[in-house]
Amino acid sequence: MRLRTFLYTYLLFLAILFFSVSTVSAYMTNNQVHMLQEKSAREYQTIAASVARDVALLDSRGLDARNFSAALGELVNSYTLYYRRHNIELALVNTRLLGAAPPETADTPTLSFRNEDGIHVISISGPLPEPFQFYRLNYQLDISEEIANTEQIRRILLLSTVGFSILAAIALYFILRNVFRPLELVATASRNMADGQYQERIHLKGKHELANVASSFNQMADQVEGHIQLLEEEAERKQQFVDNFAHEIRTPLTSIYGYAEYLQKAPMKEEELIESTGHIMAEAAHMGIIANSLLDLATLRNYVPNIEEISIPALFDEIRQSLSVACREKGVQLHCAYSVDHLEGQTDLIKLLLLNLCKNALTACGPDQGEIWLDANQEGGQITLSVTDNGHGIPADRLSKVTEPFYRADKARSRAEGGVGLGLTLCKQIADVHGAELLIQSEIGRGTKVSTVFTAL
């Protein structure tokens, strides 16, 4: 594109330049020849008049033919010698002596221009004025020198034109490079984006058309980059899920396979039989829980809950009953408080959500001084259910990950309590299908508060 523009522009420029230059130089040459011709004609007239006067003077002396022709020869000779110094050759021809018929027609001086072997000559030939019209005066002006001068000027002109052309080519190259630079920036950026460098942007100042193109391009790049990032994050989450899942499955599998093999191959002892089968059953049960939780998660994806009116006092009562044994065992106190009576949602899901949150809270609580607060509040039309504990808290860097499948903030404790690492993922899913938001605040050593804010319903 740039090369083509350069070539076309340059060729056009050259055509115009050379046409003008050649026109001007041709005009110059013509003009000079013309001027020289006019000058010659005037000179001829002067010489002819002067020669005629001298011939008339000679004639009036009444000399005889011999003396007359000698005197005439002398006269012509002096003219010739004089004008030769001015590059003019003169000759006077007596047409009567040559025996030629005197010209009949009105005999005017004829002018001709000849070029012989590089010698340019203007010649004028014509009769002298009456009554000496039988004398012809031949005039020849050598203008080779003037023509040569003009040629020289033409050559210089041509050379400088070529020089200018080269300068113009260089200037044109740089101008085009500047003009095309924004386009090339756009092209490079597009290429890089096509190669997957989505962070590519074009930096162009000004308000011209290309700046607009650049700004549109940058907007597009922002969009593409955003989408790609989302996709990458989604893919990464999926990959993470698969990795975690494989790990979660491998651990119980290793136990099950290992203990079964041990039973098969090692010498049998009663207590080892009980211990090994115990491990096998516990791990199989654990895998069962994983399977059920995953099934719940899969069912809840894109699930539309059956919205019903839930009585919060009744809901809290049920939860208190479900957890009473576990609370007593751990010495944890459960406090319930509500400033709102009803909530819209699917009862069993909301109950599952709160139960999961409470179980997490129980796990987090230390023995004997643990306390859990279950609250329901309404603020600005939004109902918030929150579960707060005074347990050991979650480190800030893990807070954003706790809802990821199979992520455990405290792996050892969670496994010991039989958790599979899907509880909070399930809670988030339940919150999502209710259009609610799950907010987790935590402070190490002080406790954790998980709030479910029902925004949409």
Binding site: D243, A246, H247, R250, T251, L253, T254, S255, Y257, G258, Y259, E261, Y262, Q264, K265, A266, P267, E272, H279, A282, E283, K411, A412, R415, A416
Partner: protein, 218 residues
């Protein structure tokens, strides 16, 4: 036999490994996180460390990287990805085991790493029988006993996997190689010879439907 440190956070798996290694005659210490590895090393001299990668506090890779003592390491990983394995081996681990693993794989890898480190048992003694594993000789009451090379391989396999039942197929593979087309009854014949020559009629137990097991008091 070797003194082995087991660092694995899953209690069930930790116990399982300990049971297996104890069966074949090793002594074990169990720890459940990365930090405890360094404490245990200060208190004991270990011949080998079995190290889980995903552990609380300090993960296995960091443990390998920080470990100054020259102790052979086999790392245990649930993630079988090539990068993980290469990463572990690059850090200086001697071998790796991917979960789930079987008993024979575990004992074989432990045995081979110990042998490379020059810490494998050179001999074995049970009652009036002594076996010189490096010299490939078997004595009963100090009298050398004649065995075919296959029979010695069988004895060696039974000793290295003592208290673990070895299937006839496995024994056939060990002594005759995978491409041996023979019948598993070949194994029975040679086991019969070994029992008779060493008086091991009760020491080498026949395991129902499976194969044979060398039973040694743990």
């Amino acid at each position: 036999m070797a003194h082995i440190l087991i660092a694995e956070d899953e209690a069930a798996i930790n116990t399982l490994i300990e049971k297996n290694l104890t069966l074949v005659g090793h002594t074990c210490v169990s720890v459940f996180d990365g930090e405890a590895v360094f404490d245990a090393i200060e208190r004991h001299r270990f011949d080998l460390i079995l190290l889980d990668i995903m552990m609380p506090k300090i993960d296995g890779f960091s443990v390998i990287a920080e470990l100054r003592e020259d102790i052979p390491i086999i790392f245990i990983t649930a993630r079988g990805s090539v990068q993980d394995r290469v990463h572990g081996l690059k850090l200086g681990a001697d071998d790796y085991i991917v979960k789930p693993f079987d008993m024979l794989e575990l004992s074989a890898r432990v045995e081979s790493v110990l042998r490379r480190a020059g810490k494998a048992a050179q001999g074995f003694a049970l009652g009036n029988v002594t076996v010189d594993l490096s010299g490939r000789q078997v004595f009963r009451n100090g009298v050398p006993q004649e065995f075919t090379p296959q029979e010695f391989l069988l004895i060696e396999a039974l000793i290295q996997n003592r208290n673990i039942a070895l299937s006839r197929d496995k024994l056939l593979d060990i002594a005759w190689g995978y491409d041996y087309g023979g019948d598993t009854r070949t194994v029975d014949v040679h086991i019969h010879n070994i029992r008779k020559k060493l008086g091991w009629e009760t020491v080498i137990k026949t395991v129902y439907k499976l194969g044979y097991r060398l039973e040694v008091p743990v």
